[in-house]
């Protein structure tokens, strides 16, 4: 791999934490990932999946047990954190409580031994960037959570790092503020052109902000792709389950053609579904369909699947139809509500289900 292509690259990184006694925890298990220059890259997964560990290895707070991490093609293992051109926005912000907002932002440059005038100018620039000019001389304990978040961002951006690491930085904010900050972060990434590596357990956050997402579980990266890729074509059960609502249908491969397959379901119905990359060619498979990628049809009309309507739940913006398919699987359809729209369906009636093109996707596992 040529240097310069990727900002950060992890090659076979494994991290084992020696716990108390004999039990060791494998926080990262042979992870390979390549993060591009100027990319907004998100590590998504539940707590304990290893995403924060990977971030700490990149920042230099921990060392990999095995494997190497490259920054622009160079192994950064021998560099302590204070020699890595990488800055972190901490989950708890970790603002220095004995310093003012301005001193916090200027700290990195001061440690780098930059001239006073340059620090001064840069601090002002950063304050402007995060729109906090008037709070420069406040103590960090005297500003709100959202403002602290901005200071943490400005502080990490001030030394103009090659890569910015963000460890669940929005988790402490309330819903409204979080929404605002998501847009703000995206803007900052765009304006600064710095590679962002963002860690979160919030799928919505990941989907709205990222260029690419890596979904992690139990120390492994399960799938890397654009938000649309991950959402529309999950490759594994965990990914499909973790992001959004999903219908799982069990079936058998009846035939394949390129990246498409015919799958025969328990009811005898045959549907066409996309095959994931690196599919093992096994016979019994699981197919996933997102609830909004299917629609209800009236009984007797042409349909991919048929069943009985069991429950209708109204959600304001949309309505969920719970269907018991012939053959015994349950299926859910989400339909957006519109004023005066919606055919009147009644619980208990027989219905058909139409799948949109490319709605079904075969899972690897």
């Amino acid at each position: 791999m040529a240097a310069g292509q990727s900002a950060i690259e992890a090659r076979g990184v494994t991290k084992v934490f020696q716990g108390a006694g004999q039990d060791a925890v494998k926080a990262l298990d042979n992870v390979f990932v390549s993060i591009r220059e100027n990319e907004f890259f998100t590590l998504l997964g539940p707590s304990g999946c290893g995403k924060t560990t990977l971030l700490r290895l990149i920042a230099g707070f921990d060392f990999p047990t095995e494997g190497e991490i490259l920054l622009h093609g160079q192994d950064i293992a021998p560099l302590p954190p204070f020699r890595r051109p990488v800055n972190t926005v901490f989950q708890s912000y970790a603002l220095f409580p004995h310093m003012t907002v301005g001193q916090n932002i200027g700290f990195g440059l001061e440690m780098l031994g930059r001239p006073k005038a340059e620090i001064e100018a840069r601090v002002n620039e950063m304050l402007k960037l995060v729109r906090m000019e008037e709070l420069r001389n406040r103590k960090t304990s005297q500003i709100s959570g959202g403002q602290q978040q901005r200071v943490a961002l400005a502080r990490a951006l001030a030394p103009a790092p090659k890569v910015l690491l963000l460890d669940e930085p929005l988790s402490a904010l309330d819903y409204k503020l979080r929404k605002d900050m998501q847009i703000e972060l995206k803007r900052l990434q765009h304006e600064t052109g710095i590679t962002f590596i963002f860690v979160t357990h919030d799928q919505e956050e990941a989907l709205t902000m990222s260029d690419r997402i890596a979904v992690m579980s139990k120390g492994k990266i399960l799938q890397i792709g654009s938000p649309r890729d991950i959402y529309d074509r999950p490759s594994e059960r965990f990914v499909a389950n973790f992001i959004g609502d999903t219908n799982f249908l069990e079936g058998e491969i009846a035939g394949t053609a390129g990246s498409e397959a015919k799958v025969k379901l328990a009811s005898g119905a045959v549907i066409s579904a996309g095959l994931p990359e690196g599919f093992s060619g096994k016979n019994r498979v699981t197919v996933v369909v997102r609830p909004e990628h299917a629609g209800l049809t009236a009984p007797g009309k042409k349909a991919d699947l048929s069943g009985k309507l069991e429950n209708i739940v109204y959600f304001g913006t949309d309505t969920h139809y719970h269907i018991m398919l012939d053959g015994g699987a349950s299926f859910m359809i989400r339909q957006q509500n519109s004023r005066g729209g919606g055919v009147g369906h009644a619980v208990g009636e027989a219905v058909g289900v139409m799948l949109e093109d490319h709605a079904a996707q075969v899972l690897k596992d």
């Binding site: 076979g12 060392f63 990999p64 047990t65 095995e66 494997g67 190497e68 293992a77 021998p78």
Partner: protein
């Protein structure tokens, strides 16, 4: 891939080495001027006593330990129990026990009183307990001495109001020692008691009242069991220094009513029996260590049951 591992191990080794180096000054000072000398005491307790104090170096004998509990008749060498030592040992334990008991009886309500004050004023009450604690022990003992002297304020007042005709001889008695120790060590009882009462969940008390418990029953069945760790901590914190008390019995007990601490001093002074003094010191330390062990075990049990 071995390089990552080696690097990791090297940085860990350096970290451990740095931390030992950082601890070194404190360890050296403590070893040189606190722990090391204790070993000397242990060695001395097994040596032959010198003619003018001191010991005959590297001449071993168990005579020091023997005379902790026994004595030889000067004329016919018959062995009998060392009554004088045993009396002092017994007095030390007994007075320390009484002091602890009284401190508990007075300290418990006081700690409870502080713990039930409004949040803002608790600190102030606690501060009032800590001030005497940080005041020089000698000054406090001296203050007590002035109060209980024959011509002291207590006797003067009692005679003035006609309760007694002649001054009560309190000073230079066991009672004086006990009163002094109670005065000096009371804060040590109140502070840990308060610490565990502060955490007391009064909703439990409410629940007990709701279930028809009377005040006394609430105290016995709910409050006291819940603050038991504090009771044990406070008792041991009073008992240990009381057992090793030196200044208080010396000032308030006069020369006669000795406690273990004074007996030890005597061996290094007029007694000129360093091995015996050393053996007595080790004995005292052993008793303290046992008490400490009980405390530590109780403390770890206490934290274990809370989570």
């Amino acid at each position: 891939m071995a390089s990552a591992k080696e690097f990791l191990e090297a940085s860990e080794r350096k970290d451990v080495r740095d931390r030992w180096l950082l601890s070194l000054p404190a360890l050296l000072i403590i070893f040189a001027a606190a722990l090391g000398p204790l070993l000397v005491v242990l060695l001395y307790s097994f040596m032959v006593k010198g003619d003018y104090g001191d010991v005959k170096l590297w001449q071993w004998s168990t005579e020091g330990w023997f005379s902790v509990f026994f004595q030889r008749d000067i004329f016919d060498d018959t062995v009998s129990l060392a009554d004088a030592h045993l009396t002092i040992l017994w007095r030390s334990v007994w007075l320390s026990f009484l002091t602890t008991l009284l401190a508990l009886i007075f300290g418990f309500p006081t700690a409870y009183f502080i713990a039930t004050r409004p949040e803002g004023t608790r600190d102030i009450w606690l501060f009032l307990i800590t001030i005497p604690f940080w005041t020089n022990l000698l000054i406090r003992t001296f203050a007590m001495m002035e109060v209980i002297r024959n011509e002291g304020i207590l006797n003067t007042v009692l005679i003035k109001i006609g309760i007694i005709d002649a001054p009560l001889q309190i000073l230079y008695t066991d009672t004086a020692i006990m009163l002094g120790m109670l005065y000096v060590y009371l804060p040590l009882m109140v502070l840990p008691l308060y610490a565990s009462m502060e955490k007391l969940d009064f909703r439990l008390v409410e629940a007990a009242y709701d279930l028809y418990a009377t005040r006394l029953r609430v105290l016995w069945r709910v409050i006291i069991p819940l603050v038991k760790p504090g009771v044990i901590a406070g008792s041991i914190l009073v008992f240990i220094p009381a057992l090793g008390a030196y200044v208080t019995p010396r000032v308030l007990g006069g020369g006669k009513n000795m406690m273990l601490g004074n007996l030890i001093e005597l061996q290094f002074g007029q007694g000129r029996n360093w091995p015996l003094g050393a053996a007595l010191s080790i004995t005292l330390m052993a008793i303290v260590m046992v008490a400490m062990l009980v405390y530590v075990r109780q403390a770890s049990k206490g934290t274990g049951s809370h989570g």
